[in-house]
């Protein structure tokens, strides 16, 4: 069998179980695809030896009849997950040379199931960005390229994860979503991206951005694969104080295909000014698909949705300024060269000026400002109050009997690299307008590819679920996936 890297996780699992392929063959095919993918700049640290050892062990485990769903499945890991002994620097210069001495819970869970580690994936520095251009490794290029030859973003911050899955370099990838960083890259690359309920997946060993919003999840080729991979990533973890004490259900078993009687809300506030006819049309089409499958479509209101973006850009930088205080040039990472007579303050200030990129510096300073004496109430506390109202909007929608909410994932398809106005950072922030609300409310959301725009670039639709109902959400997402029949793949140019 050729092109094994093009298999889905479910397809590979079944072929491995039947003995039609081996984990070693599958892994070699992916390693070959990665070697030939330099132009995408998706993989930034490769671990071929580790991959080969893990593949051999997986084959032995399958032979012994002891396989778990992810045994022998080659995956890529977003750079910000700590993997013992493997560079893990959250795409930041300040963590240059850092080799974790411990393993993140998410990756440990994957290795315990027998998944195969191919390497680390590009991202925006500390997850701060929507285009994977804010990276010490340079930008990731979207595998979707049109006749115009323009290099487009794969989205961000998990742009490396999305590009790697879209280009069949790996079967699935880990990612994280603080304001849309799983769903937006998935929408831009024609892949599936699932952000679970806050607390479903452990944050232990995940390099922090904004701790009350960060949540890890998978980017995969299909909804079924997302169900399989979430099941492997999620756990109850004593090492994360916000990890929920809830057993992990069998998400794949939730994919019944029956969504009859489910109530889907369409939030009127998401019909923002300037929403393209194309995305609006696709949104209606997606609602029709769910209706045809037996769901009931109802209009709902989330009155505070328009304040989600400014609230997010107060709260996330505030948390980031605290979280990133640890990068001081003392305990790990890179310390700036000091001159004679330089003291400890110069060491901090120069290390952080050299080590953090411009967007990270900006957010740390904004966060410092909104938390400083005199402004704490006016900005930070006000934003947290607005956050409570945003969550209440969702609580009321769900209390009225809605099972999930349908909305576009992004206001546009993938944009060209280098096109953002650097003097106006707020412009880039507007990319998160549809995704960020659910992070503030802690809810699960999934982006499913549903079509191509006029240019031929993928577009995604987002379903937002009830807290802890990832199973129900995945089932709805699979109905949408089935009806949309999205099979387009990028033409290989790299």
């Amino acid at each position: 069998m050729s092109d094994l890297n093009k298999l889905t996780i479910a397809g590979a699992r079944d072929a491995l179980a039947k003995g039609e392929i081996t984990a070693v063959e599958l892994t070699e095919t992916c390693l070959g695809a990665i070697d030939a993918s330099g132009a995408l700049n998706a993989f930034v640290h490769n671990t071929p030896e580790m991959a080969r050892d893990m593949a051999k062990a997986a084959d032995a485990r399958i032979k012994a009849g002891d396989a778990a769903p992810m045994t022998g499945i080659p995956v890529g890991v977003k750079d910000l997950f700590c993997v013992k002994g493997v560079p893990s620097q959250s795409a930041s210069r300040i963590l240059e040379g850092f080799l974790p001495q411990y393993e993140s819970t998410v990756t440990q869970n994957l290795w315990d199931q027998g998944a195969v580690m191919l390497g680390k994936l590009n991202q925006d520095e500390f997850g701060m960005g929507s285009s994977t251009e804010n990276s010490v490794y340079g930008a990731t290029v979207n595998p979707w390229k049109l006749g115009d030859g323009v290099e487009r973003t794969a989205g961000g911050s998990s742009g490396g994860s999305a590009a790697a899955v879209a280009a069949d370099l790996c079967l699935g990838a880990t990612a994280t979503d603080t304001g849309g960083s799983i769903r937006q890259p998935a929408a831009f690359t024609g892949t599936v991206g699932l952000r679970p309920t806050y607390g479903r997946v452990s944050r232990w060993g995940v390099i922090a951005y904004a701790s009350s919003l960060d949540q890890a999840g998978p980017i995969t080729k299909t909804v079924r694969d997302a169900a399989i991979m979430l099941g492997a990533m999620a756990s109850v973890d004593a090492k994360d104080s916000t990890s929920a004490e809830r057993p992990v259900p069998d998400y794949e078993a939730a994919l019944t295909g029956d969504i009859r009687g489910k109530k889907i809300g369409i939030p009127k506030e998401y019909r923002i000014d300037g929403l393209s006819d194309e995305i609006d049309g696709l949104w209606s089409k997606a609602a029709d698909m769910l209706r045809d499958a037996g769901a009931e479509i109802v209009d709902i209101s989330l009155p505070h949705a328009k304040y989600a973006l400014p609230a997010y850009y107060v709260i996330a930088p505030a948390e980031a300024s605290s979280n990133l205080a640890r990068y001081d040039g003392v305990r790990y990472g890179r310390r700036a060269k000091l001159g004679a007579g330089d003291g400890v303050v110069e060491m901090y200030e120069r290390t952080r000026a050299e080590g953090f990129g411009p967007e990270v510096q900006r957010r740390v300073m904004v966060g410092t400002y909104v938390l400083s004496a005199g402004f704490y109430d006016a900005y930070y506390n006000r934003a947290r109050r607005v956050r409570a109202l945003i969550k209440r909007d969702f609580d009321q929608a769900y209390a009225s009997g809605v099972d999930a909410i349908l909305a576009p994932t992004t206001p546009s398809s993938a944009f060209g690299l280098g096109t953002a106005d650097k003097s106006n950072p707020v412009e880039m922030y507007l990319n998160d307008v549809f995704t960020v609300t659910l992070n503030l409310a802690g809810l699960p959301g999934i982006s499913v590819p549903v079509g191509l725009d006029k240019q031929g670039l993928p577009l995604g639709m987002q379903l937002i679920g009830r807290p802890w109902d990832e199973g129900g959400l995945l089932n709805l997402a699979q109905s949408l996936e089935t009806a949309a029949e999205f099979t387009a793949k990028p033409t290989r140019w790299w």
Partner: protein, 95 residues
């Protein structure tokens, strides 16, 4: 509210990020743009609304006050840019 160059210098220092004097006007302008964007929040009536701290109302987990991890000095120091004799080393702090 508008940030002056002086305030930008103060914020940079509080954040322990060195910013050259020549870069302060641009920094102040950027911060002003972002703060202006945040001012939309002033339209919202938040009277009587408690600031949200977490998404799930849950009591932080507690455990027995015992050592669960430790005796790993070598591992802890392994990534330090400068470690000596079992300590993190930094430039002189006290004159």
């Amino acid at each position: 509210m508008s940030i002056t160059e002086d305030e930008a210098r103060k914020v940079a220092h509080l954040a322990r990020i060195a910013v050259a004097d020549a870069d302060l006007p641009a920094l102040a302008q950027e911060l002003n743009g972002i703060l202006h964007f945040m001012e939309q929040l002033n339209e919202v009536d938040v009277d009587g609304i408690e600031p949200m701290t977490g998404v799930e109302p849950m009591r932080l987990k507690r455990r027995e006050d015992v050592v669960t991890d430790g005796e790993q000095q070598d591992l802890v120091l392994k990534n330090a840019p400068d470690a000596r004799e079992g300590f993190f080393a930094v430039p002189k702090v006290v004159e």
